[in-house]
Amino acid sequence: MSLRNILRTITILLPAVFGLLNSSGMASALPSPRTALHANLHITFRDSQDNDSAKQEAELREAIRHAPTNAVYLGQLGSILATQNKLGEAVPYFERALKLNPGDVETRRNLATSHWQLGKLAEARKNLEIVLKTRPDDTLAMLLLGMVSEDLGDDERAANLLARVIPLVRQRPETIDSLARAYYHLGQTDKARNMLQMLVGHPFGPEAVFQGGRLAAEFKDYDTAEKMFLPIQSTYPDPATVNYNLALAQFSAKRYAECEKTLLASVGYGHGTTDAYALLGWTYQKQDRLPEMLKAFEKAINLEPANQTYYIDLGDALAGKKNYGTAIEVAKEAVKRFPSSSRTYSLKGSVELKMYLLTDALNSYSKAVELDPKNPRAALGLALTQWNMDRSDEAAKSFEEGARRFPDNAFFLLKYALFLLNAPGERDAAQDARIKSLLKKSEALDDSDAETHFQLGNLSMKENKYGEALTELQTAARLDPELSKAHLVLARLYRRAGREEEAEKETQFHRKLKAQEEQSTDVNAAIGTRHP
């Protein structure tokens, strides 16, 4: 192929890869939009052209040697390198071309694409903004900038830009997912659902629908996830996986009977994976069907006896039902079978902590930490046990060390904040600031934990910042409507604000929840064995 033909092809293909071509690739995990688009770009070029790209590259390099200031050649070489995934090499050619011809919108867009693919988001954004300034109606640049913005966490801008190029967005599952993700982040669930709905019946097939379902589940939109998984149960190439994901969504939505039905049907069709049995075990646990729970976990363990996960699941499930006697037996067996596992010692420690056998729990968690200092459950368990034993100095040290080691573990940070909050002494401003910072960080990492919002709201109440408190407490109550204390403090807040009617409503709701809690008291609980 002549050089002219190559250049023309690239010019045509570059825009096309973003919107016009199909892919039949099937990823088992949701790829990032950037990776996906890049992969498509690469595949498209290879599939569509018979020409040897190395030959084309050589021809372009030769042309540039003769005409080093030819912006067209430079841009084209950059493009051909980019299609070969030689992004690092491509960028300087694009840049040289743009230096010679700054108004070349195509080349700037290509440069931005390469930057995006290289993860240089700020540079990509800058160039795309220049493109859009020159050519405000450049839909491709809008699409790209929307994707870049989504990667940058600027969900509002991403949503605005992508919404303006829906015809382009709807052509690719990855771009649909990007816009849906932006909407979810913005709390615009209905719009996110509408976007994901586009995937159903999409020419990209069941994989796109599956990934859409997983995206919905990621944002705890389990109804949508279920709606995505259900229609592809018979068409998805891996029915065990889709059934498991469907059941998981149902479980997460607390629809345990449906989850059980899905799993049993899947097992009936011969898709009885260990994960399916384990989830079935948890489903029975939630339905208080302990004999069936035991059988399901036993099946999972027998299918994969070398996998400690299912012993741990069984132990945790039993402990969750306050069946500590059996739970501790399972934990001991797990430790025996996996003596070098930090996770099994953590399980043992957690059961012992629940049984208020604090010395035993301390030993188990210490061993777990020794075996794997990077195990957050072990580190947290050790700190909690020390706290329960009133070894406050040791607990403080463990929490502080854990906060350093697991800065991205929202739950750990929350527990550390609770430890500091519950200290009996009077706190100074620095301690208050530390607690607030831990809670804020925990919230930033996982804003779905009602406890975090509750504690932040409570702190704001104490500072008489009623507006902030109201927001946090309402969030806590929304995330966990059965969190009785959120309603108690909301009632107090409303009362202080003179909003008596709302206060009374929250008070009544709180009382109702407390009565329910009283009903669910463990009738065999020994006195004085409650722990923080």
Binding site: M355, P424, L488, R492, K514, G528, T529
Partner: protein, 566 residues
């Protein structure tokens, strides 16, 4: 003016004792100030001749009640001007039998530091039920305090005959509280008709037939409180003719179902009508405000005393009320379980109350303790209300798990610096404060009339501990015994505002308080080192009458009768 120092109590003491009181104070002051080895309280149980032992009926069945009884009252049953001591025994359980009869004790104060048990002769030694607590008051205004004894499955009212004996009038009076496990009882005149009414705190309905089974590390122990369903409160209206009417329903108190253990009657909102603070075990505390029409409304939510800030209904056991900050508004102490911290709520005359548990240091001082009896007292007579709390765990095997929490726990004497910050006086309080106890009931009173508040507390399956206050009389003081005429004779519900120089002190004659216990109904004001020559007092009687008195002399108990007759 109907004031007369008819009883100069110190003169009732033997000459040597009186001499000691007159001579020792400056010396004591110096010693106390220098932190010398003079202990604040001395255990005088042996010297007093108190040998009675509580019997809980502890058994392998681990009925919760075995760990909860122990009422005690400071009460001058014979009107000789000396506080006597009444002790309520527990009882047997199906597998917890006593080798001998299980009896109460009524220790008559002989005035020489000795006491003599006269329970049998007085007719109050035996109960036909398992005993819990006692509330002493003169319900029929005949000048002699009567005894209401709580327990399960019923309670009893002993009318004081005025001759050193009592008659069980439970059936006739209609206050049996049948079928309920009652804990505290509070005498107070909720309708201000001049007759004391009776609130009974009920915990649950206990059956010795079906023990609840709970284990800790394979060892049988008491179950969590929440295993026991709560009960409504009982309110009896005194008809003024020796009988009572159960007004639990019409007053609205029967809708408050929970595990009530302690209560104090005090005028929370300063409207002249007695209100109630009810401490409940893992049930929300109640603040029952008197609506003046025979009904009560719970304002616990508004006061923010029902639950802690994490929505936990703490294990409220004992409760007392007093002006902790010296601003004329009542604060409340509530004893709770270990790790919950005993609570201190301060009223500033409006809702919500302020939670001073941490700010007062009470949280750090009580973290490891399960608290029971608690009472404010100005042990050093400096004018600030201090705090005594008796503790003790229920779970005999708790030490298997926790190093910091002991089964036997100390008595706490917490000194108030006047700003509501408490300091543990353990180091100088005396030997009794170095030991551990299975403490339960706690009562305060000046049994030797030296102007210093003494203490007594009960212990499970042990003798009670009587503590003599050695330092209170080192500072100046003034005491009052009020006698109602239009009001109830004990003047429960009266508010006393004392002006001593620039200092104004407010005290109330409360009903109930602490845990299962009853106290000296006289009001003792600490005046500090330099009391003014003349002291003024304003009384708001339970009837609503007010009375002003001036030129009162310190270091005396003053006997004050309500001016107008009924």
């Amino acid at each position: 003016m109907s004031v007369f120092s008819r009883w100069r109590y110190r003169l009732l003491l033997p000459k040597t004792a009186a001499l000691v009181c007159l001579v020792i104070p400056p010396c004591l002051l110096t010693l106390a100030a220098s932190g010398s080895s003079v202990e604040i309280f001395t255990d005088v149980t042996d010297a007093a001749g108190i040998t009675w032992k509580q019997f809980s009926g502890e058994s392998p069945d681990r009925f919760m009640i075995e760990a909860a009884s122990g009422g005690v009252a400071f009460v001058d049953y014979d009107g000789d001007g000396l506080l006597d001591i009444f002790l309520v025994n527990g009882g047997e359980t199906p597998k917890g039998k006593s080798p001998g009869p299980v009896g109460n004790a009524l220790y008559h104060n002989l005035g020489n530091g000795k006491f003599e048990d006269v329970a049998a002769g007085a007719g109050v030694d035996r109960l036909p039920f398992y005993g819990m607590g006692v509330a002493a008051a003169d319900y029929d205004n005949d000048g002699f305090p009567d005894l209401y004894v709580t327990g399960t499955p019923r309670a009893a009212l002993f009318h004081n005959n005025g001759d050193g004996t009592f008659t069980d009038v439970t059936e006739k009076a209609g206050v049996k509280n049948e079928g309920r496990w009652s804990a505290c009882a509070v005498w107070f005149d909720y309708d201000r008709d001049g007759y004391l009414d009776l609130l009974v705190c009920n915990y649950t309905q206990l059956s010795f037939e079906n023990p609840k089974v709970c284990e800790f590390n394979g060892i049988r122990t008491y179950c969590d409180q929440k295993v026991y369903g709560g009960m409504p409160l009982t309110l009896y209206h005194n008809n003024g003719n020796g009988t009572f009417t159960d007004v639990s329903h019409s007053s609205g108190v029967d809708k408050f179902i929970g595990r009530a253990l302690g209560a104090v009657a005090i005028d929370v909102d300063d409207d002249g009508w007695p209100d109630l603070f009810v401490a409940r075990d893992a049930s929300p505390n109640l603040l029952l405000i008197n609506k003046h029409d025979g009904t009560f409304m719970d304002r616990g939510d508004e006061a923010e005393i029902s639950f802690d800030e994490n929505g936990v209904a703490k294990a409220g056991m004992g409760v007392d009320a007093g002006d902790v900050l010296g601003k004329g508004h009542p604060g409340f102490v509530v004893t709770n379980f270990n790790d919950e911290f005993h609570s201190l709520f301060i009223s500033q005359g409006k809702y919500p109350f302020e939670d001073w548990t941490t700010r007062s240091h009470l949280a750090s001082l009580t973290k490891s303790y399960v608290g029971w009896g608690a009472h404010f007292l100005d042990y050093d007579n400096d004018g600030n209300l201090d705090l005594a709390i008796i503790n003790g765990h229920l779970n005999q095997v708790i030490e298997m798990s926790r190093g910091d929490v002991k089964y036997k726990q100390p008595l706490l004497l917490l000194r108030n610096n006047g700003q509501g910050v408490l300091e543990n006086m353990r180091a100088s309080a005396g030997e009794a404060f170095q030991k551990g106890y299975s403490g339960r009931g706690l009562a305060v009173g000046d049994y030797d009339n030296d102007g210093a508040t003494d203490l007594i507390f009960t212990c499970l399956n042990s003798r009670p501990v009587l503590l003599h206050n050695n330092v209170g009389a080192g500072n100046s003081w003034i005491g009052f015994q009020l006698v109602g005429t239009k009001s109830n004779r004990d003047a429960i519900g009266a508010k006393l505002i004392l002006q001593a120089g620039n200092r104004k002190l407010v005290r109330w004659i409360t009903g109930g308080s602490s845990y299962l216990s009853s106290h000296d109904k006289r009001v003792l004001f600490g005046l500090g080192k330099q009391a003014p020559e003349s002291i003024d007092l304003q009384i708001r009687w339970p009837s609503g009458e007010t009375q002003s008195l001036s030129g009162l002399k310190p270091r005396n108990y003053h006997f004050i009768r309500e001016p107008s007759q009924k």
